[in-house]
Amino acid sequence: MNRKISPNFYSMVSASLILVLGVVVVFLYSSAYVVEEGKQVIVTQFGKPVEGPDGKPDVKRAGLHFRTPFIQEIHYLESRLLPWDGAPESMQTRDKKRIDIDVWARWQIIDPQTFFVKVRTEQRGQKILDDLVDSAVRDVVARHNLIDVVRKSNEPLIYETEELQRGASDQVTGRGRDGVEEEILLGVDLQEYGMKLTKVRIKRVNYVESVRRTVYERMISERLRIARLYDSEAIEEQNKILGQTKKELDQIEGEMEKRAAEIRGAADATVIQLTAAAYGQSPEFFEFLRRLEMFRETFKSDTRLILSTDNDLLRLLTEPGQ
């Protein structure tokens, strides 16, 4: 008997062991759960959130946790920063400019219990943001001029050329774009949903299609204005330089003629002075010599000379011997 029962007993034991192990595993499986980093868990009992020992809502953070099997349910919620990206919306600024504006935001579930009760899923949280952020953006944009949405300071703009530098253009009030973003952020109250908006940023701002075309036209005309200015400045510069050149040339040539005349005149004067002094010693002899000289120069081979025998030079021709 003993020999027959004991193996039977062992297998019974092992079978019941398997059973117990199975029960434990099932129990553990339905009781223990792991919450990963970046997640948070809200536990409900018959659909109602369970409160912790301190009376505060029981929110499980990362780690190993247990629940009462079959009675308590767990719901995973994100604890990470969540994105929201609105669709581009067309709206009007205070100075009546129509713009397309595209905004993104980041939000977080800060009160999981409230969030779970009122919103339940992240997708529905997005839906709430769709409505709230959009209207906040409209409100804020309608209170500001376009320049406030575009610029963030009143720093003077830097241009390539002075000609493009504009006078006092539209001035930003307050902190401009940064201020607008902050106003939108403050304009969205998510506390009652257990959510918090941590960041709102204007992603894109642009004129609506029809205005954009007129902006292109304005940019073109502005540039062409500068181009024309350069063209006429070119001629101005050219004329300035050429005029100056002419002036300097005249100056140089005038100096040239003046100096040359002076030098030559002084030379001639010296000659006059020298000769006058010398010839003055005997003007009569000088005249005599000068006349002879003159005759020499005047009577050349092509000169026809008609002399009368009466002439003093030829006197001997007619009066031989005298």
Partner: protein, 367 residues
């Protein structure tokens, strides 16, 4: 097959009293061992993991960050106690804004600019002009824990791909965040600059500022990401026509430079030449001065010398000089006509223009 096992069993099988418990417990033992081997094998498989050189592992124990794992082969506690995520911390990833690389390579191809790209790249500048700005952002994960657990998405994440590390982006919410931040930062900077600054002079500065601003915002997010670089690619006026107008300005500016240079060139070629001419003329005048002075001095000296001699015997010298001069002069004169004083009315028939009109006289004279 086996004559002992199955034979014995069948042999005694008909007798319920003789159920071969001993045989079964032998079998049970085998089953236990088999189960244990399979179990240990399965658990063992979840205890070994490898981290690639470009990655870093984050080990979670019961969902909580436990430690990091460097590249190599590692052991961990079996699933479900510990799990590991692999994050590519060394890999540099690039995001493109306003354009799209279709196929990188020796000759990289770019996708044609789409409407979406245009929506990304067209921006309002501070002077309410429009410009197109294309840029890239390069980043690298520097803190895998933050990267995994700080920035999330409402879309369901593929956990398996995440754990195996096969996705280049383990947490797709992070590049989305970088995209959003980059766009808003770039627009904010461009929105506070002139169109000229964006298109030409300020490009480098814009990229630098964008880099620091994007990094700052990402740090606010605790995204666990380092921005390596922000580079502006094409920055251009919004349409071809506007671009032409910008070109027109460049053309006009260059033309202005050219015209001014040419005028300067003309000036440079004329002024020195004129100065040279001035010097030349002055030098010539000086030369003239020297020459006429010398000549005059020579003449004066000659005269004085002659005068000194003349005064010693004025009459005879005067006659001699006169006659010598006359001899020379008459000798030189080509046509001489000597008329006796008794001849009257000779002049009217003289052809003054042509000496040959009176050949007889001419001949006589030439002899």
């Amino acid at each position: 097959m086996s004559s002992d096992g199955s034979g014995n069993w069948q042999g005694r099988g008909f007798d319920p009293e003789n159920i071969p418990w001993q045989e079964i417990s032998k079998w049970m033992w085998l089953v236990w061992v088999g189960l244990a081997v399979v179990g240990v094998g399965l658990v063992g498989m979840t205890m070994v993991y490898g981290i690639e050189a470009s990655d870093e592992g984050v080990v979670l124990r019961f969902g909580k960050t436990h430690k990091r794992a460097e590249p190599g082969l590692h052991f961990k506690l079996p699933w479900p106690i510990e799990t590991v995520y692999k994050v590519p911390v060394q890999r540099i990833q690039t995001l493109e804004f306003g354009f799209e690389t279709q196929r990188p390579g020796r000759q990289t191809r770019y996708a044609p600019t789409s409407k979406d790209d245009l929506a990304v790249s067209e921006m309002l500048t501070g002077d309410l002009n429009l410009g197109n700005v294309e840029w890239i952002v390069q980043y690298r994960v520097n803190d895998p824990e933050q990267y995994l657990f700080k920035v999330g998405d409402t879309e369901v994440i593929d956990r398996r791909a995440l754990a195996s590390g096969t996705l280049s982006e383990v947490n797709a919410a992070v590049p989305d965040a970088i995209r959003d931040i980059s766009e808003s930062v770039m627009r904010k900077l461009v929105g506070d600059s002139s169109i000229d600054y964006v298109l030409t002079i300020g490009r480098d500065k814009l990229a630098k500022e964008a880099e620091t601003m994007i990094q700052k915002e990402l740090d606010d997010f605790e995204a666990g990401v380092d921005i390596i670089t922000v580079k502006l690619q094409t920055t251009s006026p919004p349409t071809a026509k506007v671009q032409d107008a910008f070109q027109e300005v460049n053309r006009a500016r260059q033309k202005k430079e050219r015209v001014v240079n040419e005028a300067q060139g003309e000036r440079n070629s004329k002024i020195p030449a004129a100065r040279g001419m001035r010097e030349k003329m002055i030098a010539e005048a000086e030369g003239y001065k020297n020459r006429v002075k010398l000549v005059a001095a020579g003449k004066v000296n000659a005269f004085l010398a002659q005068l000194a001699e003349y005064e010693k015997a004025p009459d005879v010298t005067r006659k001699r000089l006169y006659l010598e001069a006359m001899q020379e002069i008459l000798g030189n004169v080509g046509s001489k006509t000597i008329i006796d004083e008794s001849v009257q009315g000779m002049l009217p028939i003289l052809n003054l223009d042509h000496g040959s009109a009176i050949p007889g006289i001419q001949q006589g004279a030439q002899r």
